[in-house]
C-alpha cells in the first residue's frame, strides 16, 4: 500500500515569538516492510533544518526559527510504501521458556524491560498485571495479544480523562484514555512479564469512514524558554530612575507557566501510538491496543522509544513577550495507488490536496 502523509503543525502567538528551537520526529522510518519513498519538511518562516539520528535510531530533525514571527507553520510531507505484515500469532514458545533465555536479552533490551518516565512499575500496574497474569504454558505471542485486548477492554476511549503528559497511573485511575495511554499500559504489563516492549509513534491510515482520534502531542511540548534576568533581580534601577523603562526585567521575555495555553484544535486524524513487542521468531512485532489488533498494512511507523517522552512529534522552546499561544495540528493520510490516489481519505479533502 502506498500512502501520502501531510502533517501540518501551526502555532499562533499573541506577540511575536523568536529564537524558536525545535526537535521533530515526523519522518516515517525505512525498515521492516516499510519504505519512506520521499520526505520533505517546509516552514512558512525562514528556518534552519538539520537531520540526524537519535539514540533509538529514529530520523529526527532540528528546526530553528530565529527571526520574530506571529505564526509558525511546519509541514512534513512523505510518501510511504507499506507491505502487509504477517500477523504474528503463536510463536511456538511458552513464556516460561522465553524467560529462561533472558540474560542476554535483559542486557541488550535493558531499556525496553524497565520502567521509564511514563511507565512506572507502580503498585497499581502490578495489580493490573496480576489480575490477568500469564499461565505457565501460555504462548508468548498469544499472551501479548491477550494483554492487548485486556487493556482495551478495561478502558473507555476517552479524550478528556488523561493528557499528553500522563503516566500510565492516570489511565488506571480514571478508567479512560487515548491511544498513547493504551500503549503505555500494555507496554508496562509486558515489561513486568519480562517481554521487551517499546513505544511507537506514527500514523494510522484510514480504513473507512468514522474513526477519529485526537492529537497526541500538545502545546506543552512547544514551550516558551525561561528568560534570564539582565541584572541581579533585586538590584535594578532604583526610585529615581530616569523615568520610562526603569527595570531591565520588563524587557525580557516572560516565562509562561504551563496550563496557560489553549488546548489543541484538531481536525481529521492525528498521530497514533501503538507498541512493538519483541517475540521469538519474528523479533519486534507491532500491536495496536487501541484497535485491538496486530499492526496491519495501515500502521505507518515514525519513531520508537521507551515511551512518549522519547518520541514526541514536536518538542521545543521559544521566546516571546506575549502570554498566549495556540497550536493546531492537521493530519492527512491519503492512500495512493500506482497511477493515482484512491478515494476516501478520512479528512474529506480533495485528493492530492496539500495543507
Amino acid at each position: 500500500m502506498l500512502y501520502r502523509i501531510t502533517h501540518t503543525t501551526r502555532f499562533e502567538y499573541e506577540l511575536p515569538a523568536y529564537d524558536s528551537q525545535n526537535e521533530l520526529r515526523m519522518r516515517p522510518w525505512d525498515r521492516d516492510g516499510q519504505r519512506c519513498i520521499s520526505f520533505d519538511l517546509t516552514t512558512n518562516e525562514p528556518s534552519s533544518t538539520l537531520e540526524y539520528g537519535d539514540f533509538f535510531g529514529n530520523r529526527a530533525h532540528s528546526i530553528c526559527v530565529s527571526a520574530p514571527h506571529r505564526k509558525l507553520e511546519i509541514v512534513a510531507r512523505s510518501v510511504v510504501e507499506l507491505d502487509t505484515p504477517q500477523p504474528p500469532g503463536a510463536t511456538g514458545m511458552t513464556l516460561v521458556e522465553f524467560l529462561r533465555g533472558d540474560s542476554v536479552r535483559n542486557n541488550v533490551y535493558f531499556e525496553y524491560l524497565n520502567p521509564s518516565q511514563y511507565i512506572p512499575f507502580s503498585e497499581r500496574l502490578r495489580k493490573f498485571f496480576w489480575m490477568a497474569r500469564p499461565q505457565e504454558t501460555e504462548d508468548v505471542g498469544l499472551y501479548v495479544a491477550r494483554m492487548m485486548a485486556y487493556v482495551r477492554d478495561q478502558f473507555e476511549y476517552e479524550t478528556t480523562a488523561t493528557h499528553v503528559h500522563s503516566s500510565l497511573n492516570d489511565i488506571l485511575d480514571s478508567g479512560g484514555g487515548v491511544c498513547q495511554d493504551f500503549a503505555h499500559l500494555t507496554i508496562g504489563i509486558l515489561r513486568l512479564a519480562g517481554i521487551p516492549a517499546r513505544y511507537v509513534s506514527g500514523y494510522l491510515a484510514p480504513a473507512g469512514a468514522g474513526y477519529l482520534a485526537p492529537a497526541a502531542g500538545s502545546p506543552l511540548d512547544h514551550m516558551p524558554s525561561p528568560p534570564g534576568p539582565l541584572s541581579p533581580p533585586d538590584l535594578t534601577a532604583g526610585s529615581n530612575a530616569l523615568g520610562g523603562v526603569g527595570s531591565s526585567s520588563d524587557l525580557t521575555a516572560r516565562f509562561h507557566p504551563p496550563g496557560t495555553l489553549s488546548p489543541p484544535d484538531v481536525t481529521a486524524q492525528a498521530s497514533h501510538a501503538w507498541l512493538e513487542a519483541w517475540l521469538p521468531g519474528t523479533g519486534w512485532s507491532g500491536f495496536d491496543p487501541t484497535h485491538r489488533c496486530a499492526v496491519d498494512g495501515r500502521h505507518i511507523g515514525v519513531a520508537v522509544g521507551r515511551d512518549y517522552a522519547d518520541v514526541p512529534p514536536l518538542r521545543g522552546v521559544f521566546r516571546s513577550d506575549g502570554m498566549d499561544s495556540m497550536m493546531t495540528v492537521h493530519l492527512n493520510v491519503e492512500p495512493l495507488n500506482a497511477g493515482g490516489p484512491s478515494g476516501g481519505s478520512l479528512s474529506g479533502s480533495q485528493s492530492r490536496s496539500q495543507q
Binding site: P232, L235, G238, L242, G243, G244, L251, R319
Partner: protein
C-alpha cells in the same frame, strides 16, 4: 563586548554615582541644620522630593525627621537606592565584571562593601556624622581615582562614563529643581537678597562651593548658582559638563555603527539644549520646565542606550 557586560558596567557606574550624590545630600543637609535654625518644620523632607522617594518613605516611616530620613537614605536595606543598597548593587554588578575591571578596582569596591556591611545608625552616633561621611567620600574618591588611573580608555571605560554622566546630569537637575522651589517660591525674589547659607549648601551638595567662589566671588546670586550647576562647561558636576562627556562616550561607542542612531540623537539633543541656553534664559522661561526637559531627555537617552546595547531579547 557582551551586551550583559555593558549593562553591568552602566549600572555599576550609575549606582556608584548615585551613592555619592546621596551621601553629599545627607552630609550637607545635616551640617546646614546644625548651623542654621531651619526655615521649615521638616528640613529633611525636601531630600525626599529630590530623589522622588516620598511615597516609598511614607510606606514605612511615619515622620520625616532627621533620624528617619538619614536612616532611609543611608542604611535602609529595603530602599534600593539607599547608600548601602547602592554600594551593594555596584559591587554585585562589578563582581560579574571581574575579568573586565582591574583587580585594584575590585579590591577597593570590595573593601567599601565589606565596610558597609558593618554600618548601623549607632555607628553614625559613635563615629560622628562628619567622620563617617568624610570616610565615605574618601572611599568614593579612591574608587573613581583607580578607575581613572588603571582602566584603559576602551569600550568598558565608555560604558562606565555613560552611566556616571547620565546619573550625574539627572541628579543635578533634580537637586536644583527641588531646592530652587524650596528656597525661592516667588519670582520676585530672584536676584534679590537670598539666604546665602542655604544656597551655599546647595552648592556644597554638588561639591561646587569653592569653584563657585573662584568664579563669582563671595556673594551668592541665584542665577549664578543655576549657571554653574547647569551650564558651566568646565565644572565637573555641571549638567553641561556631564552631557559633553556623555555625548563624547556615546560617539565613541557608536563609532562602529553607520548612521545616527536614536541614542546618539537623544544625547545630541540634550547637549544642544544645554549648550543653547543660559541661567538667565532658563529662569525667564521657567526653570522648572527647563529642568523637566533635562530629566526627560535623560530618560530618553537611558531607554535608547538600553535597547541599542544592552537588551538581551
Amino acid at each position: 563586548m557582551l551586551r550583559r557586560i555593558a549593562d553591568h558596567l552602566y549600572w555599576a557606574a550609575r549606582y556608584l554615582e548615585r551613592a555619592q550624590w546621596r551621601s553629599r545630600l545627607v552630609d550637607v543637609n545635616y551640617h546646614l541644620n546644625l548651623e542654621v535654625p531651619p526655615r521649615m518644620a521638616d528640613p529633611w523632607e525636601p531630600l525626599l522630593g529630590i530623589t522622588g522617594e516620598r511615597e516609598m518613605f511614607a510606606q514605612r516611616y511615619t515622620h520625616a525627621d532627621e533620624a528617619s530620613v538619614v536612616d532611609f537614605f543611608t542604611f535602609d536595606r529595603e530602599n534600593s537606592s539607599s547608600i548601602r543598597s547602592c554600594i551593594e548593587a555596584a559591587r554585585t554588578n562589578l563582581s560579574a565584571l571581574r575579568n573586565t575591571i582591574s583587580s585594584e578596582m575590585w579590591l577597593q569596591m570590595n573593601e567599601l562593601y565589606l565596610d558597609s556591611r558593618q554600618w548601623s545608625p549607632g555607628l553614625l552616633a559613635s563615629e560622628g556624622f562628619s567622620s563617617f561621611f568624610t570616610d565615605l567620600r574618601n572611599h568614593f574618591y579612591s574608587i573613581t581615582g583607580i578607575i581613572r588611573s588603571t582602566m584603559p580608555r576602551d569600550l568598558s571605560y565608555d560604558f562606565l562614563e555613560i552611566g556616571t554622566m547620565l546619573e550625574r546630569a539627572d541628579n543635578v537637575a533634580r537637586l536644583l529643581d527641588v531646592k530652587y522651589h524650596y528656597l525661592l517660591p516667588r519670582l520676585e525674589d530672584i536676584g534679590g537678597p537670598s539666604d546665602g547659607r542655604q544656597w551655599a549648601a546647595v552648592l556644597r551638595s554638588a561639591s561646587a562651593l569653592e569653584a563657585f567662589r573662584k568664579l563669582y566671588g563671595y556673594s551668592i546670586r541665584v542665577d549664578r548658582v543655576v549657571e554653574i550647576l547647569l551650564f558651566d562647561p568646565n565644572f565637573p558636576r555641571s549638567a553641561r559638563f556631564s552631557t559633553e562627556r556623555l555625548a563624547a562616550s556615546v560617539e565613541r561607542v557608536a563609532a562602529q555603527n553607520c548612521g545616527h542612531l536614536p541614542h546618539q540623537l537623544a544625547s545630541d539633543n540634550l547637549l544642544a539644549l544645554l549648550r543653547g541656553s543660559s541661567a538667565s534664559q532658563a529662569i525667564t522661561d521657567g526653570l522648572h520646565e527647563f529642568l523637566l526637559k533635562v530629566e526627560e531627555q535623560c530618560s530618553t537617552i537611558s531607554d535608547a542606550l538600553f535597547s541599542e546595547y544592552m537588551t538581551l531579547g
